[in-house]
Amino acid sequence: MKRISRILFPLLLLTLLLGGCATTKVPSGEEGAGGGAGGAGGMGSAETSAATAGGSWSGSPLEDPNSPLYQKVIYFDFDSSEIKPEFLPVLRAHADYLIRTPSAHVMIEGHCDERGSREYNIALGWRRANAVKEFLEAEGVSPLQLETISYGEERPAVPGHNEEAWAKNRRAVLDYQ
């Protein structure tokens, strides 16, 4: 899916440009759920309708490097599941997107660095994933669109056994399905 999106993204961008809608910023919710559900959102939400118009364009705004939706990973401090303020705009963008795209479904993965015990890290990863889920729900996302799984320290993003690697592994990942 990601690979397809990578190929399709330039096409989408071209379409958007031709359609006179150069902006890839998500309009702040004025389209509501109707646009997404109907699959024909109109001018201001070209990317939203594209996202829900069927298989081929699905997830495209999520692949736009200029969109806050492009970022699907947020990072945590050691032994903490507190969402850092710097990641709130990213999560709010995802919340908006999910609200406007009720067909979208996210698996929120919680991960930890390798330090400490493995099963405690499963619980810590669970708590990180849950912190993200609760934030999105508080922003108005339907719980039915959200699922969580914790991998603890079992699925590191990067190898390495230093603070730099650990910082990249203490994360929650929004995996759109």
Binding site: D79, S117, R118, Y120, I122, A123, R155
Partner: protein, 432 residues
């Protein structure tokens, strides 16, 4: 001729693969004043052209050496190679300053069978301390050697040996994007490594049933964590839990009837106890904090677990019947993954010292804690069934390896495979 050659090559390849998976044990620190002992190579009395497939005497010597309690005499320094009492001249061994002597013989015993006998002597008194004879097969020769080591160890130290036991552990191979994870078991000396289950998804937390015949473990093979119980000897297995959220940290009760675990199905990670026969769950610990990593006391009355209810992970204890949880650890900001020694007097767990994660033991009667290891990412400690050693996971030269340390911290050994990261060890109970 050609097919035969191909078969031979295939066997070579298979042999090489089996060899790669073996754990190699290195003694990193031994006890000063370890007992000198001479283990003479066991004499084969059958056809010299087809000797037994295992060097039993050498396995015995290696076991004793690995314990840290003994210093076996190198074969090259031996003056004689007796195999019977009549052939023993104690003066030879006194001259070499050996306190004890082990001799043995292996004889053919029907098709594919062997008879192994051994004797243990006190060199200075010049008398036999014990002697046994075993009938066995090629497949079980290593196991007989470990039993002999157990008998020698117990006779000379007064403590039961744990050489004829096994370890279960997780090996991760491949790349970070495409890992190959396997749960394996091996003899306590690292030989006879066998894959029990393998997956491209995480496998975790192997736990032996008290009779050593089953392993409970966590598998993400269906994309989500589930607890499985697998029969070690038949490979038969069943899924025990597959609830929404966490299904983790399985721990058998000492009588094998219950499995404690961590589930988050009712909101938070909490400790549950399952009656295995009736598949009935009871929520033992209910708290908004993280509660996980249950472990039973050997008398079956208590469960210790990790909780961050006080703001950081610490060890707590609760009666199995329920009630108030009592906090056991107060030093250091991170204590987790506790388990009891077989006599119930000690707890081993991970503790954070500065920025390092190390293995500690707590004397429960005194409340005093000792840090046993000096790594920076040590985890998953598990007692040997005789309580003499703790096996744990650590890192060495950029790889995950297993290591063991004596409960007094004086003996250290490292176990390593040649490929992959090794972790999450669990030492088996004694086999009944």
């Amino acid at each position: 001729m050609k097919p035969l050659l191909q078969l031979f090559l295939l066997l070579l390849v298979l042999g090489a693969q089996a060899g790669r998976a073996e754990l190699v044990i290195e003694i990193t620190e031994g006890v000063e004043g370890a007992l000198p002992i001479a283990v003479v190579p066991f004499r084969w009395s059958g056809d010299p052209a087809s000797p037994p497939p295992q060097k039993v005497g050498r396995i015995v010597a290696a076991d004793l050496h690995r314990s840290g309690y003994f210093k076996p005499l190198p074969e090259s320094q031996m003056l004689a190679f007796p195999a019977t009492t009549a052939e023993v001249d104690f003066r030879d061994w006194r001259a070499l300053k050996q306190e004890n002597l082990v001799i043995g013989e292996i004889a053919p015993n029907g098709p594919g069978g062997y008879k192994v006998n051994f004797k243990l002597f006190d060199v200075y008194k010049g008398e036999q301390l014990m002697g046994y004879s075993f009938a066995t097969t090629a497949r079980d020769l290593r196991s007989v050697a470990h039993h002999i080591a157990d008998l020698v160890f117990e006779t000379l130290t007064g403590k039961p040996g744990a050489f004829a036991t096994r370890i279960a552990y997780i090996v991760s191979e491949g790349t970070i994007e495409k890992p190959r994870i396997s749960l394996r078991i091996a003899d306590s000396d690292g030989h006879n490594s066998q894959v029990i289950v393998s997956s491209s998804e995480p496998l975790m937390s192997p736990a032996w049933s008290p009779d050593g015949r089953k392993l409970a473990y966590v598998s993400f093979e269906n994309g989500r964590p589930s607890i499985w119980i697998q029969e070690v000897f038949t490979g038969k297995r069943e899924k025990v839990t597959s609830f929404k959220g966490i299904n983790g940290a399985p721990a058998w009760s000492p009588d094998g009837r219950f499995l404690a675990m961590c589930l988050s199905k009712d909101g938070d990670p909490d400790i549950y106890v399952m009656d295995l026969a009736r598949r009935k769950l009871r929520r033992l610990v209910r708290h908004w904090a993280i509660d996980t990593e249950p472990a039973w006391s050997p008398d079956g009355r208590y469960i210790v677990f990790t909780s961050d209810r006080g703001g950081s992970p610490q060890i707590y204890r609760i009666p199995v019947t329920g009630g108030k949880a009592q906090r056991l650890t107060f030093e250091n900001g991170y204590n987790a993954r506790a388990s009891y020694s077989p006599d119930g007097k000690l707890l081993t767990f991970i503790t954070r010292v500065g920025r390092q994660f190390r293995i500690a033991v707590m004397d429960l009667a005194r409340g005093s804690t000792t840090v046993l290891t000096d790594g920076s990412l040590d985890e998953s400690p598990s007692f040997a069934p005789n309580g003499s050693m703790i096996i744990y996971a650590t890192r060495y030269r950029g790889k995950g390896v297993l290591a063991a340390v004596s409960t007094d911290g004086r003996v250290k050994q490292r176990l390593a495979t040649q490929s992959g990261d090794v972790r999450d060890p669990a030492w088996s109970p004694f086999y009944q």
